[in-house]
Symmetry: C2
Subunit: 98 residues, 2 copies
């Protein structure tokens, strides 16, 4: 079952993301990152790959796209805050964006 | 060359869109619409099809997605307002969303 990140989880799993361009929105316990690509095709290609993982894991981002920029926000509505699923999807997105 | 919609163009081309769920943001001369689908796969499928047309026509939307909802805003930066390209893409999106 999905649970909110523990204090230990935050230290070990969240901290590396925050040092890799993600920022914490404490008001709603979510993480966000802006990804900038070379062009629209690359940006939307990133979204397409991420979308497939999101659906596979049944955990979906809030995201927007303007040409070559994609803004992503991750949080877990079921626990009203960050869970391991957000960490997993954030890491996957970083990997895809490469 | 892309030109801003004329008064006639607004009447003949924009009006039907406004009667089909699009709304006009007069402050920046843009049109917006919220599309709601059955699920994430259908919503992202819509985005994928629209993305290919957008790239083909070299005219890209500002859009966001949260699960089954897609919010789209169209405007033409080159003319600082609405052009026939926005009408063309809006119609295509309506057709795809079907």
């Amino acid at each position: 079952m999905t649970e909110k990140l523990s204090d230990t989880g935050r230290k070990t799993m969240l901290e590396p993301l925050l040092q890799n361009g993600w920022s914490l929105d404490e008001t709603r316990d979510a993480i966000s990152k802006e990804f900038v690509f070379a062009d629209f095709v690359t940006a939307f290609g990133f979204m397409t790959r991420a979308a497939i993982w999101a659906e596979k894991w049944d955990h979906h981002p809030e995201w927007s796209n303007v040409y070559k920029t994609v803004n992503v926000t991750l949080t877990t509505h079921d626990v009203e805050g960050l869970s391991a699923l957000d960490v997993k999807l954030a890491r996957k997105m970083d990997q895809i964006a490469g």
